[in-house]
Symmetry: C2
Subunit: 255 residues, 2 copies
């Protein structure tokens, strides 16, 4: 009855490579930001073909553990933990995720993140946070620039929460919402109100008022959701599939 069937046995060689790199990571032989040997050398040293080695590398790259740079080399991720951004988006295409479900997930994650940040953030976070608030007010007439600082603000909160796992989860959900969000901000008329909310959140966090920070964040996101819904309803999407191909690759005649 045990359904412990390896649905994704990830072929022997691949796992062999993955586990090897994983052990190098755990033993500290590979540090974040460090470059791993070239594929040709690494493959030889692991006694596997370059193709298999690449399969393993791609697997790790697909989940954000490695960063591959064409013509340069492959490196261990160094920034904050994060999953592949496209994952939720693609998975949504398959399982038919609804926008409100993403908002709900984000609401829960981000509000708790704010609450935790209120309890754990340190001076360095305060300053970074306040700076972004200032930038937001300064960019109140430039939606695109405003968005940048908006995103940064939320990201700093994630760091300040002291829980990289929740931060990574939030980032995954948030990035899936980014596309729509950008359009929303472009037409938004209430950047001032939004900025005020961010300031209030910042103050709550700085004051260490966890529950208030959480409450304000919820309020902020609820507003953002309704605003976005309104936009979506008012201006029907033009291109449902945001595929960014440089050249229009047609030839849809598969079979």
């Amino acid at each position: 009855m045990a359904e412990n069937k390896r649905v994704n046995p990830d072929s022997h060689r691949t796992m062999q490579v993955v586990n090897h790199i994983r052990s190098l990571l755990e033993s500290g032989a590979l540090q974040p930001g460090e470059k791993i040997p070239s594929e040709r050398d690494f493959a030889r040293s692991l006694k596997v073909s370059r193709a298999s080695l690449r399969t393993g590398i791609n697997y790790l790259a697909a989940m954000g553990v490695l960063k591959v740079r064409h013509g340069v080399g492959t490196f261990v991720a160094d920034g904050p933990a994060e999953f592949d951004k496209a994952s939720l988006s693609i998975m949504g295409a398959l399982h038919g995720f609804q926008p409100w479900q993403m908002f709900e997930a984000r609401l829960i994650l981000e509000s708790h993140l704010a609450g935790l940040a209120a309890e754990r953030s340190r001076p360095e976070h305060y300053t970074a946070l306040s700076e972004e608030v200032v930038e937001m007010f300064a960019a109140i007439d430039c939606p695109s620039e405003y968005l940048v600082h908006d995103v940064l603000f939320h990201r700093i909160i994630s760091q300040a929460s002291g829980n990289p796992i929740l931060a990574a989860l939030m980032e995954t959900v948030s990035s899936a919402l980014y596309e729509d969000r950008r359009k929303t901000v472009e037409h938004s008329q209430d950047l001032r109100e939004s900025a005020e909310m961010h300031r209030a959140i910042y103050r709550a966090i700085r004051a260490g008022k966890a529950s208030e920070a959480r409450r304000l964040m919820e309020q902020h996101l609820h507003l953002a959701e309704s605003a976005q819904d309104k936009e979506r309803a008012a201006a029907p999407v033009s291109e449902p599939s945001p595929v960014r191909s440089r050249k229009a690759s047609a030839g849809t005649k598969s079979k």
Copy 2:
């Protein structure tokens, strides 16, 4: 500054394949559970080499969108949405995730999941839930079997929450904790108490008491955490556990 650098440009061909399959998914040309063409045929139809086609397939398989079965074929995932289980585990090895951080993430996700389930679950969920509770009481002398129904219970709540995204996120975190959890349950003496808690949670959900369900779930997980911490402290694991802290940041010594 905008660091919109494509950290993971995922080479042209790969993305070409991924986007193609993605469009097939969105257009409904590919249904969950369906088998995709054989690699040789598919590669020919897409005008790419089999190697590149495989890179794309592996990418999608790595994030749970496709399931590959050696000697049989490649299929579109059909069950509930879920990310690769190993991702968090491997990422933890890199970023030094702490057990308490995982518990914290799980606590937040699962408590809200329980709350949502209380508001949205339907009859079919009630019965499934109650059945698992019964099974738990029946397996009160068999830790390993108890665990199975325990996991199932929580999984049903995830489904009943009506938010597949949160469910997938929770499953990811939960699976990373599974290893330790299994060991804990093996030695646990309080299965009866645990079963009682599950029953209480079930009742709250069935009664539609969201806040109570959430509170009970928090309480349940807090107990589980402390129990597991105790076990971990009392009986140091022999095998390297999935999470390992590095020298830099460590409150809890690991070696």
